[in-house]
């Protein structure tokens, strides 16, 4: 059941919206004065969105919407615009053998307002020259080639090569919104903030694999701006602070906290977890991470079922690899309790619901894939680290 993805501004809500025929639901992102405030899922009846559109969007946005409206009415910002100029940024895209996705991403980046940012593509262990040829077609984009495989390896290379103070990362299969970069940079005026993450919405939900991904492993962390630091967050569950598909780091993160762990994330046996590990380390050293939903980008989830299974397997591996690192090398003794808690409260009920075929259950093969990944995680990390 494909779902259309729409982006609507509440002030200019049309009375009726026609949706192409093959969709039976629509996921609508609601904005107020340009800022995302909520999302709602509505059925599509006869090519039109249901008549309850406005009511549902109002409900979905909730108090967020009225707060934003009031701040606009009072002409007051929660994050004040400072006199000092916004820092300059390097946008880094780490890619491997996905030239079509990368082309779409670069096109979107070209449409960002020019604030003096630098755009850099880190081509990670490519098998063809397609990416290089693609990037040569863009004069504003720098091409860097990193031969060692690994997403974190590429990220570290980006940090080394960047010439500006802030490095903003986005994935090659993501499409940033025009206001993305400015929203990220606005949050860096607090000197304790080392990382800013943003909201990631799905670019399309055409296949069932994409819909399941959005349901079980979504990148979205909600619509409220949140500041995470070690006093109010459990350092070991830093994944709630954001995702690597949409993040910006201060260049000084390497000196303050260290670089990305090259044994983690895509391209290594652990498949994921590099971003979460960096967030966790940032928090543990006393710095802050800001999640700002105004920094919006759109991610194209994997389309096939096989890739979805791989992704969930990789997610399980990454989480356990991260925990292995924390437990064995950083003496975080609360890891076993955390792992048990996750299993008992989330993974086991999901598995049972899938076995009993309760309505709305997660497909059994996905639940098992994640568990298999978890089992493989520790050994994968140790072998990657060796």
């Amino acid at each position: 059941m494909p779902t259309a993805v729409l982006d609507l501004e509440f002030e200019h809500l049309p009375a009726a919206i026609a949706v192409p025929g093959h969709y039976d639901h629509a996921l609508i992102l609601v904005r107020v004065y340009g800022q995302p405030v909520g999302q709602a899922l509505l059925p599509v009846i006869g090519g039109q969105l249901g008549s309850e559109l406005r009511d549902r969007l109002l409900e979905a946005a909730g108090w967020n919407l009225w707060q934003r409206w009031l701040h606009n009415y009072l002409e007051w910002e929660q994050v004040p615009a400072t006199d000092s100029p916004a820092p300059a940024a390097t946008i880094a895209i780490c890619t491997r053998d996905r030239p079509e996705d990368l082309a779409r991403c670069l096109e979107a980046l070209m449409r960002l307002p020019d604030d003096g940012q630098e755009i850099m593509v880190v081509d990670n262990c490519p098998s063809t020259e397609a990416t290089r040829h693609l990037v040569e077609g863009y004069t504003r984009v720098r091409y860097v080639r990193e031969e060692r495989p690994g997403l974190d390896v590429a990220r570290n290379r980006a940090l080394r090569e960047a010439r500006r103070e802030i490095v903003a990362f986005t994935d090659d299969d993501a499409v940033p919104d025009p206001g993305w970069l400015r929203a990220l940079l606005r949050n860096f005026d607090d000197p304790l903030v080392l990382c800013v993450t943003g909201l990631t919405m799905p670019l399309e939900l055409e296949t069932s694999a994409q819909e399941w991904f959005e349901q079980y492993s979504s990148f979205s962390r909600g619509f409220r701006r949140t500041v995470f630091d070690e006093a109010n967050t459990n350092v070991l569950t830093a994944g709630q602070a954001g995702a690597g598909v949409n993040m910006a780091l201060r260049h000084s993160v390497v000196e303050c906290v260290g670089s990305f762990d090259e044994a983690l994330d895509a391209g290594t046996p652990t498949h994921s977890g590099g971003d979460t590990e960096m967030f966790s380390r940032i928090l543990a050293r006393g710095y802050r991470i800001v999640y700002d939903p105004a920094a919006l980008n759109w991610h194209r989830h994997r389309r096939t079922w096989e890739e979805l299974r791989q992704t969930l397997y990789g997610y399980g591996t990454g989480v356990y690899a991260l925990w292995t690192r924390k437990f064995l090398f950083e003496r975080e003794l609360t890891i076993p309790r955390l792992a048990w808690g996750w299993f008992w409260h989330t993974q086991l009920p999901r598995l049972l619901h899938a076995l009993l075929r309760r309505p709305g259950h997660m497909p059994l093969d996905l639940a098992l894939a994640e568990l298999r990944g978890c089992l493989r995680g520790p050994t994968a990390y140790l072998s990657a680290r060796a």
Binding site: E11, L13, A15, I45, G46, S51, D55, W66
Partner: protein
């Protein structure tokens, strides 16, 4: 102890409210541009009047957070209220021996702010001819249905109605001026097949009325507009069909009866089952995949039963009719038997009735017991009702409400004429 019931529209200027001798509290239905927002309660402190400042103060304190999305939402969206083309509507009022109350109802109906509608009074086996005499001088149509039973009367009303939208209301009800325009607006979307509305108490003078309204929940279903479709409902929600509306205030597109069939004549007031015809229709309609909209702007004022004995009877009938409704669902196989049995035992008897017997809240325990008694009698009542309906169907065969005779084809659903106008228990 009586409460004075009023309505107040915020977009109109208000003056002081007089005539409050003998009342201790005002119960105000606050509306914004015809849309009800909520109830506000103001104490008049033994004075015979209340000042507008007190009203505004109470409204902003009690209903402030509901008002913000409704009012400011409209400011934000800046939409021009689309002028909906006024579809012609047939209003059907089924009545039996209640000429005085019917007079009030008709007076309100004839004063509706709507350009194109007709009123059909279906006199259901009245013993006297007061109704006929009342209606004779009024510009309404009069039809007599001899077979006793509210659903027989409703089906007759559908057959007699000339227009595509058929709206039903009861004789002890005073519809609001904008009732039909709200219903027509709800029908603007072509997928909508049924619309139910808000039922507010017209008066809260006696303790029986207050028990019914506050202890039992009255007949209203909230202030939130809802669009209800089968695929967004669980089986449990589908079976609690009394949450979708009430027969006192409902409207349908005529073509839906061709698809799902008419009202089930073994149910509702006037038959041994005592009620449930409306609930069963909502359930059947949704189970077949149609869309129902609960539109609180379609507002009517209902005079609740004033004395305690009638309240007891009403509660008893509620219990009994819900049971017969569930048995009808079982017969029609709209949901699986196992789900139905689980619902009946755990949800209805267990959670709704038995649990409230121990923790009745503000509703008297005695009345919960009465409802439980009614529930337990529903099996026999169902049998009796079925037998009676068969009798009636076989007895007279003039003007059987077979769908198709007055059917007008529309583009959204195919015209399917099935001889399901009869109540014969059939195997589907």
């Amino acid at each position: 102890m009586a409460m004075k019931v009023l309505e107040l529209d915020l977009s109109e200027p208000s003056g002081p409210v007089w005539g409050l001798e003998g009342y201790t509290t005002l119960s105000i239905l606050v509306r914004y541009r015809e849309r009800p927002v909520g109830w506000a309660y103001v104490s008049n402190l033994q004075q015979p009047f209340v000042l507008p400042e007190q009203l505004v103060d109470a409204i902003s304190t009690q209903l402030g957070s509901q008002l913000v999305p409704i009012v400011l939402g409209e400011q934000l969206v800046n939409e021009a209220a689309g002028q909906v083309a006024a579809m012609p509507v047939s209003v059907v009022v089924c009545t039996r021996d209640r000429a005085d109350q019917l007079a009030d109802c008709l007076r309100a109906l004839l004063a509706l702010d709507y350009p194109d509608y007709e009123v059909v009074v279906v006199d259901n086996a009245s013993r006297s001819d007061d109704t006929a005499r009342l209606v004779a001088d009024l510009p309404v149509r009069y039809v007599r249905e001899e077979r006793p039973g509210l659903d027989w009367a409703r089906n007759r009303g559908i057959a007699e109605a000339r227009h595509d939208i058929v709206a039903f209301t009861d004789d002890d009800v005073r519809p609001d001026r904008h009732w039909l325009s709200a219903i027509a607006r709800a029908f603007a979307a072509s997928e909508v097949m049924a619309v139910t509305g808000f039922v507010a108490p017209a008066e809260l003078e006696t303790s029986a009325q207050m028990t019914f309204e506050f202890g039992y929940g009255g007949m209203s279903h909230g202030f939130r507009r809802r669009v209800i479709r089968r695929d967004s409902l669980t089986t449990r929600e589908l079976l609690w069909a009394c949450a979708f509306g009430t027969g006192t205030n409902m409207a349908f597109r005529r073509q839906v009866f061709a698809h799902v069939g008419p009202f089930d004549v073994a149910l509702d007031v006037g038959t041994p089952s005592g009620g449930g015809g409306d609930v069963e229709m909502f359930h059947r309609l949704l189970a077949r995949g149609h869309t129902l909209v609960y539109e609180p702007a379609a507002l009517v004022w209902h005079v609740h039963r004033r004395d305690a004995a009638s309240l007891r009877q009403l509660v008893y009938n509620n219990g009994r009719s819900f049971g017969t409704y569930l048995l009808t669902c079982a017969r029609n196989r709209t949901v699986s038997r196992s789900a139905l049995v689980r619902f009946a035992v755990c949800e209805w008897i267990g959670w709704w009735l038995w649990r409230r017997l121990w923790r009745p809240g503000s509703f008297p325990r005695r009345l919960v017991g009465v409802e439980l008694t009614g529930a337990l009698s529903s099996l026999l009542a169902y049998r009796a009702a079925q037998a009676r309906a068969r009798e009636l169907a076989a007895d007279r065969d003039h003007r059987l409400p077979i769908m198709g005779a007055h059917q007008q084809t529309t583009e959204t659903s195919p015209t399917r004429v099935r001889p399901r106008g009869l109540v014969m228990p059939q195997k589907h």
